[in-house]
């Protein structure tokens, strides 16, 4: 039968262990919570990046892309036609002085025909260039989206490091609580084991009979 002090020692020992255990359990939960928060943060960044990709995807929609290709073709055609329209050289020297009206008519017709021919070629060239120009522009947009996604990725990395640090720190147990638990546990244990290992000595008396000889 243990005394009140002994019971208190045992309670302190158990209580101290429980305090330490609870603090460790809380720390583990805090770590778990911090890891979950970190994962959720990473999910947010991953979704941001996916949203960027899906936003970029819109430029590949076949309907709008066909329109974009036509626009690129027209732009290229205009640029080429302007280059020809602005040009003044290339044609041979015209005869001057007294020349026939047939010559003048022919020369004018020839000029008009060549201009028309150049215009047709510019249109054809524009149509050939359009698809390539379109993809060139798309790739520039891809690179822009890529750089934005890299920015999101950089933020994700920074956040991941911060979250890892938070998880590390929240995983640390409160040394005061642990000390309290340790003191209670150790103290209680010391008292309890001291009480049980050093009981009040009880002596037994033996009747000793002296021997009478050896066999």
């Amino acid at each position: 039968m243990c005394t009140g002090l002994e019971a208190a020692a045992i309670a302190a020992m158990v209580g101290g262990t429980a305090i330490k255990s609870r603090e460790e359990s809380r720390a583990a939960k805090r770590v778990q919570s911090a890891i979950e928060t970190g994962n959720k943060n990473q999910d947010v960044y991953a979704n941001q990046k996916r949203d960027l990709v899906l936003k970029n995807l819109k430029q590949y929609d076949p309907t709008s892309r066909a329109t974009d290709q036509t626009t690129a073709q027209n732009t290229a055609t205009d640029t080429l036609a302007k280059a020809v329209g602005d040009a003044t050289g290339g044609r041979g020297t015209e005869a001057t002085g007294k020349v026939s009206s047939d010559y003048l008519t022919g020369e004018a017709s020839s000029k008009a025909n060549e201009l028309k021919r150049s215009s047709i070629l510019a249109t054809l060239m524009g149509k050939v260039r359009g698809p390539t120009d379109l993809r060139f522009n798309e790739n520039l947009k891809n690179a822009q989206f890529g750089s934005q996604a890299a920015g999101v990725g950089a933020n994700a990395n920074i956040q991941a490091r911060a979250d890892a640090l938070k998880a590390q720190r929240t995983g640390q147990v409160d040394p005061r609580v642990m000390l309290l638990g340790q003191l209670l546990s150790t103290g209680g244990q010391a008292y309890a084991t001291g009480s049980f290992k050093n009981p009040k000595p009880q002596y037994r008396t033996f009747d000793t009979q002296p021997g009478t000889g050896y066999d």
Binding site: E36, N39, K49, L121
Partner: protein, 259 residues
Amino acid sequence: MCGGGGGGDNGAQARADEEKSRIQNATAQINAIFGLTDPSVYTVSKKVTESVPRYSSSGEDAPAITGYDNVDRYVTELDQPLLDTATQNKAAIEKTYGTTRDDILNYFKNQLNQQSEVANRDVSQRLAQSGLTGGSHQTDTNADLSRTYNDALLGYTNTADTSVNNLKSGDEQARLNLISQITSGADQASAISAANTALSNNASLASSSAMQGGIGNVFGNFGSLYNTSQETAGRNAAYNRTMAALGLNPGSYSGSLVR
């Protein structure tokens, strides 16, 4: 209880399922835009919430239902509307590729026809100057012209097809890059890599342009015929003058000295 986090893993499996679902659905969207019509691509996962009975504690012979929990789970099913969209997109994409091929071929044919016209005109003129019109030489020359034209046309048809294939290859590369970005999450390095790939694709585009090098001088070989015919005309004229000086009848010779 709002479910999905079963298994005592604090929702890790639910989050993983949701992530997989997002990736699968985003990938399907990309494939639909690029007109992939393989149905297996459109087997997307969808979240469904099910009401699951909650039983009384175990150990009883016939556990009673004490309530119901809503549990989220993901099921895979064919997204038919997305597949239909992909089929429509494929038709639109093929139409654009076809138009592009025709445009490229027309560009080359236009130049080829012009050169052919000039070559025919020059050859006719030279044959006439050489007095070879209507002869077997004209037939041979016409055959040469026709062969040169047809060979060039076949070559440019190949060029048009190759150019469209290059565009298709570039578009496929774009599709794969987008999918790669979807699957790589928020990874920074992969995003930078995607941006670099996009720019290097532009360098490839410039070098693979259909107009690279242009059409060149298809009927260039007929230039030698022109020189030859000029030379022939000169020799004939000299011959005729010589014959006339000798009092012979140069008009009796209607052929060519040099072929």
